[in-house]
Amino acid sequence: MNKTVKNVAQALEGIESGMTIMLGGFGLCGIPENAIKQLVKMGVNNLTCISNNAGVDDYGLGLLLQGRQIKKMISSYVGENDTFERQMLSGELEVDLIPQGSLAERCRAAGAGIPAFFTPAGYGTEVAEGKEIRVFNGKPHLLETALYADFAIVKAWKGDAAGNLVFKGTAMNFNPMMAMAGKITIAEVEEIVPLGTLDPNHIHTPGIFVQRIFQGEVFEKRIEQRTVRKRN
């Protein structure tokens, strides 16, 4: 099974305005930056984007916000982005804020055929409004439902033609669950390696969850908060 496509344009074929798209990453770490640039180029709009964060003003999902391509964001944390806050407070951008653990689990649930589950996160807060509450082990929990997407776009370190993915460090974050949840999952990788190169014991996302894979052209991999210590 060869899922390799030759470039980002081919990888993103079929994405249309109005669709729901999941994008991996935490902050700017592990985001599919080549695919995001391509979405800008394609000019699709009215998108519902499911992503933990919304990038910064001029990088990552911030680029799609600047171009007003996003109708609705489903995220857990959207600080660090003034465009975002402005569009949200002015009401031109719909926002659904979800506790980070619930966001991760709701993506996984979609991919795992689990339509709903109970979690304690958000009980007693506005997140619980309209949701079923049930007590387990003496503690109230909310019923949260699976989050599906037309396309999931994830970023991995290495991948192969079978769609197997390996992530590096904390660039893994939401990528594996989103890969599971997309009707069509597109993987952007830094390097496509020959089949058989990846140790089958070390594969983070088995190829079954991935429909298309491409090697990104340029990885800026911008750092949001460069914190260092001096050498003695």
Binding site: F26, Q100, C107, G169, T170, I223, Q225, R226, V228, K230
Partner: protein, 219 residues
Amino acid sequence: MGLDKIGIAKRIAQELQDGWYVNLGIGIPTLVANYVPAGMSVEFQSENGVLGMGPFPFEGEEDADLINAGKQTITAKAGASFFDSATSFAMIRGQHVQLTVLGAMEVSQNGDIANWKIPGRMVKGMGGAMDLVASAENIIVAMMHSNKIGESKLLKTCTLPLTGVGCVKKIVTELAVLEIKNGAFHLVERAPGVSVEEIIQKTEGTLIVPDIVPEMVLA
């Protein structure tokens, strides 16, 4: 008067216990990692997918693929592990993390906490805070006693949208250590040089003050 941020972090570090896994929020809580008592083994979990965080990298060794939940570049110690966000919150929700330290905009005397939204003015999102406060057995809030315009952050009832209900057990501010029980703040320690009167005056919620309020001892 009172502690600086480092002082607050040092005082919280005294609450650590050997063998604990700890999640530190953004800001003051992050500093706690620098003051783990000698001889104590504590591992730090960051909800973006790392266990066994080490110090910041040396200049020039930053790796964009290795950050903490505050998006700061970090390092990993020997024995560290990386994992996805679902596994990370499995650790948190499943109570495998023994202590959570986080900041707050408001805390109420019954342990409610608000730290993610000011309606109409600021909405950053709750991030992992709602999962953390709904799940953790031990939650310590690290914050200033008052907000920027001098209003108490220790309230009878929170005015801002809540992050969690009845979950905060302990608060460390620049002025005091307080415990929450039976619907009231209980003064446990005062910061060096801070008077009980000042703490009473700056606490809007019900404050129980024992006869003797020891001064914090900071190394």
